[in-house]
Subunit: 213 residues, 8 copies
């Protein structure tokens, strides 16, 4: 059951027609399929033809799944951590992708570094995750603090949220690549999908491990 | 046995005296200790005082370990992959760190993208690793090709090897962050240590999993 | 017949009226003429007045040619290589330009580095080309792999396809300039035209050579 | 007593002879004088001629002061905060400059973001300072966390400590300029002097305020 | 009265509906609230529902305040300094924010470095401020000149005004970080709010001091 | 005879001992071998042991060749074009490499764009080459002018010669990538070897063509 | 008559209403006035109210002049040099500004470096100018070639014309700053106005000189 | 007498032997000759062989002149303006070059923007120059202030003086290119020679003009 990954489409730069035709081709073979970066407008158009597709508006994600997979009871979970509303789209892209790929997800949002106590209040839940996906824009400091709290891998996702000397996410990207905490690796700016994909790969190993306990 | 990580010192910018004093303090508590970025000159000086320290000249790594830990039989292994002699220092920093942290390592060197068949000849061994650390300078293309061959996580380590439009590793770093293969995450330029640390965290989960089989 | 190059217009930043007036002036002298970077909208407008112009929608290319030049039987061909749909516009700009300039073209699309076996399945056809134009965005790794497979020149065309740390094609450009494969030279980001122009110059020499065999 | 600022010399790029002659000229008028960026070698040479100058080796600072100014009892103090040994030179440049300019300084070193609890253990002392100078290299996250803990101004000093994607302090600089905490302003990379100067200006106002209580 | 800072919302990227709902929630608790980066269009929409909110069109600021706070008689003031009409939006963001936070503000606009005498005519008023917020685009030279005239802190705010080699405010940002005048610290490009926040923190200390005189 | 390329070693970052051992291994199989980026110091050391190696001091190239290959009479030639003494090292790296690989080379040095008539005096010889390698630092304008004069391929090699806003060859690199002349492709900064390699590939095709005439 | 410079308004970012009100205020004092960067749309609107203003559509310049100043017979002239249609807007901004400021202008357009003979055909006219304003985008090579032909000052104006590795004019800007020809100085990207202003200052001196001959 | 410019050698990257041989060849034809960027060490060596050469140690300039040219009485002069000791080398490269080329020079040093009154005290002398060469590092603000004071051309020379966010002169370069003062053009970072060359060209025109008065 756990082997293999369903196909995932990058929706940006594709028309609604292109997205729907790719997704239908996959679905027609009975395979699950997900598209990221699908705007609300495109999704609306597609849902007219394919009302059984599911659209996650915050995540800009559209998918179809054969059957609602129940989270396996004994397995671990992935913590998706971010500071607040501005990074939500990317965090939800990660969360929805990870859930689609079959992992359990715990959302720990609204825990920015400038309010360190809210983060500490959630430290236990993050620490117990098999892996964390930490999403942050601006100064990109959150993965360093989380990395210091946990002893499992942290996948850092810089976002392009910010302005001026943010340079479209460069500030957060560089900060994360220079994290003084060990165990932090980084994916592309705004790449919530990539963060989730890496995390699911890791969680599957850990999940198996835990399942055996 | 597997819990916790021994202390690791960043040797760059520290004198031989500083390194030795930090390492001795840790050793005196009976704890393992490793220092990265220790030049041959500094190592020579230190080894006069502490001949039981072990120096890996290619890796620029100096360490002390209580007892020679035997690789556990049933566990998985980490593949350290790189193109050739110029990236060896960083690849060995990764390999030696991972071994120090208790993981089994398989070195798959001399498999650059411009000679794709040598890489394919080693595909099986890379595919069976729990996680790969892929080290590359110049165009930094290797993690993308490896990522396409395996279905486990790839930790990409860009190196500063190259000249001109390489801009001290920027070309490889950007290439890796933009990898079209899923399952690739990136650490800082020349950060073999960081690549290994992330890989060991993952390998420990997978190792447990395998051990249970 | 083979001497000289017909005139080629850069359509970007020119109005439909400007493009049509330049092209008509050339056509009225009985000369072939081609315009790159002509959007669908502009092309539509122009085709109303000049229905004998031919528009290649994917390539954004509009041209007029005196007579349909048949590919000469014994000559070589140019391989245009790219990873997939996102780089198609640039690859087709190269392909259509090369054909317009009188070279035979073989399109080898959908051969990205993350699926190396599809590329290898086409290795023979690429190897036999007189020259390859390799188009790639994101990590820009394809020219390095192709360069390792062939012993003829590779013209690398980086594209601006990607996001975040792609920086509008910078990642692919730097990767290609740092290619570890010998025999790779590079043109500007998205410059499919330039890639084709260089390739045709080379193919003409090689074509002559082959024709003599 | 508190009015005016003594002269401060930028020692980098000046010879020992130049530094000593400028400092003596000022001293001979009975004025205090301090030079930053004075290497140990230069300092040794200068101290031979001027044994009453005081050299702070960590800070690379050399100064002469008419009389040992006692910290005024009731006034406030400046918190100098940093993560550890690698940023010490810059932190001490700030601390020594602030003390020379007549402010009381509290050093809160070894409180990096990857070990958040050590920082929180010192939160009270930082919170009570009139102003904090927060020195950090690598991901430059410390000012954001400190800024969230205090309600007084934070002067952030990025350092060039790090390697690779650190780009000589750029990562820390951009992070600090993008701090999500309010009340953080930034000076140049490695400019401990500038951080101190701004802090002393502020502390003098606050000091007066407190003195009146 | 002076303790604590009311909540401030970053309006950019938020819909009118989101802004109004956040502001109303705060207002309903009887607390003051201000939103920056609110375009005229959004403000119009919001004011229909909340006609007691006040909109500053130049500053793009919307706020609600319990009672019109009268500037306290004996306290100091903040000088907001800029060159002219192009930097007005950012300067007014600073001025309106500072006034909302309870400080007295003196606007000294139209004093660019290329007309140094107009600046000198206002030197006295700037010198007497407890702190200056100096807003400048293009070459960003104004904070250096002001810093040389005053002996109180200068908060420099670079703006993105300019074109070409301005690189969206980079030229002004770098100039300010490299100011040869002591006592200048810098906030993010276009961050008038941040400039004001820092200035108010400082002015409150100084204000108390003056009040005691 | 013309098939295949002898092995070429990148000497930078390798010790004299490493270079000599690699070269001897190749020579012992009777194969030609060349090393680039060999400093005078290293070459001296190597020549003590291998006096039959030949060292080109300007080019920093060391090689061994079975037999002195005579340029074939009827074949074409490669034009190596540069502005003057400062770019000589790179131009000679190209020239010596091309000769080693069996092509005839014509050196057209001292023809910078600021003295256009010297270039025009050599236009005929450049025009008759099968391919040109144009080496330039600073503003990197030479390939554009040459590209306008010839109708064969131009391989542009930017050099790091210059200072200040040259940014180690970036100005020349960008200029060449943006050449308004058709038929110009670019290799890495200072990569004379790469320029030659591409040129030889092309010249071989053209050479055959000519040989048949 | 020649003393002083009339006022010049930067139209970008100003509304038609703002432009007209500033220009009218100046005109009402009987002074000449010119605005740059005025789009066709804004100009149309303004001309309804002020039909005696003159609009130069290519240059995006709007002005009012008391009386048509006749070029003085004996004076020198400014050569405005550029490659072709894409740089025309900037070249005309320079030409129209210079004429407005009272200098005689000779337009030498369509003389790009890739067609060096067209430039040489005009060498005499450029050489006789008191000063040249050389406008170029892409590789920005024209000022170097012109600088080599003349012995009077060359003001180089880089344009943002190009794409990809042009980076909005950076390639041309860096090329011009690195010109190997002596006597070239540079203004901001697209700053035709600035080029003209500098040239007029110089031409006025030279004009006087010539007038005396 | 005034026509033509003597030859000027760029000494950087040339050995003492190379410099002396080029200079002697020119001298032997009875022509004046100057070399820039000649270090003290190289100069010492050269002066042993050619004691009649003159070395300007601050400017790093070595020259030989047929006869001591007296400044012509009635001509204008060039103002060389800079802030202080750190920019002296570049300012003196400009001053010595201009004098060698036959212009009268007035040095106005130690007039930085942070001490605006010292600059204003010299305004008259700068205003009366035919042209100013303004040298500045760090924030590069001086040309803007000078440009506002004078109505003659200003040649701005950015220097690499500074550290951190100075990025080897980038901050000063960008500031000068974005100067809000009209009549400022810019040469390469540290290019005192280029500043002088442009200024002399202009001064010669103005000088003639004045001479005729
Ligand atoms: N080569 C390396 N690259 C990056 N980080 C390292 C390296 N070696 C050690 N570290 C980390 O540096 C920290 C120790 O720094 P220090 O206290 O300066 O010795 C530890 O967190 C290590 O995990
Ligand atoms: N470490 C430092 N970083 C930045 N500026 C400094 C430093 N030390 C001294 N300065 C400033 O440099 C100026 C003195 O420069 P100088 O005349 O070259 O010695 C004074 O304005 C100081 O305030
Ligand atoms: N100067 C050079 N610049 C770039 N690549 C080179 C140069 N010299 C040799 N190479 C290439 O470097 C590779 C050999 O690298 P290595 O194995 O490190 O000696 C070969 O592919 C050569 O084609
Ligand atoms: N300091 C300098 N910076 C820039 N260009 C210079 C400098 N000194 C001399 N030059 C120019 O360099 C050229 C001579 O270069 P070279 O033949 O290498 O000595 C001449 O065109 C000079 O005008
Ligand atoms: Mg951790
Ligand atoms: Mg994979
Ligand atoms: Mg090849
Ligand atoms: Mg705070
Ligand atoms: Mg001051
Ligand atoms: Mg050509
Ligand atoms: Mg000239
Ligand atoms: Mg002026």
């Amino acid at each position: 059951v756990r082997q293999g990954f369903p196909e995932i489409i990058f929706g940006e730069g594709k028309t609604a027609a292109q997205i729907v035709s790719i997704m239908e081709a996959i679905k027609s073979k009975g395979d699950d399929v997900l598209a990221t970066r699908v705007t609300k407008e495109k999704a609306k158009e597609i849902l007219k033809y394919q009302p059984d597709f599911i659209y996650n508006e915050t995540a800009h994600i559209l998918f179809w799944k054969k059957e609602q997979q129940l989270p396996e009871k004994s397995s671990g979970y992935i913590a998706i951590v971010c500071a607040g509303t501005s990074d939500l789209r990317v965090a939800e892209e990660a969360a929805a992708t990870a859930e689609f790929l079959g992992s359990e997800v715990r959302r720990i949002y609204d825990v920015g570094v400038a309010g360190i106590h809210r983060l500490l209040d959630n430290a236990e839940e993050i620490r117990n995750a098999t892996v964390s996906v930490v999403v942050a824009g601006m100064e990109g400091a959150l993965p360093s603090v989380v990395g210091g709290l946990v002893s499992r891998p942290v996948i850092a996702v810089p976002t392009s949220i910010g302005y001026g000397a943010n340079f479209q996410g460069l500030s957060a990207l560089l900060a994360m690549l220079n994290s003084c905490a060990s165990g932090v690796s980084v994916v592309n700016i705004d790449n919530g999908f990539g963060g989730a994909y890496n995390a699911v790969m890791i969680d599957r190993m850990a999940g198996s491990e835990k399942a055996e306990d």
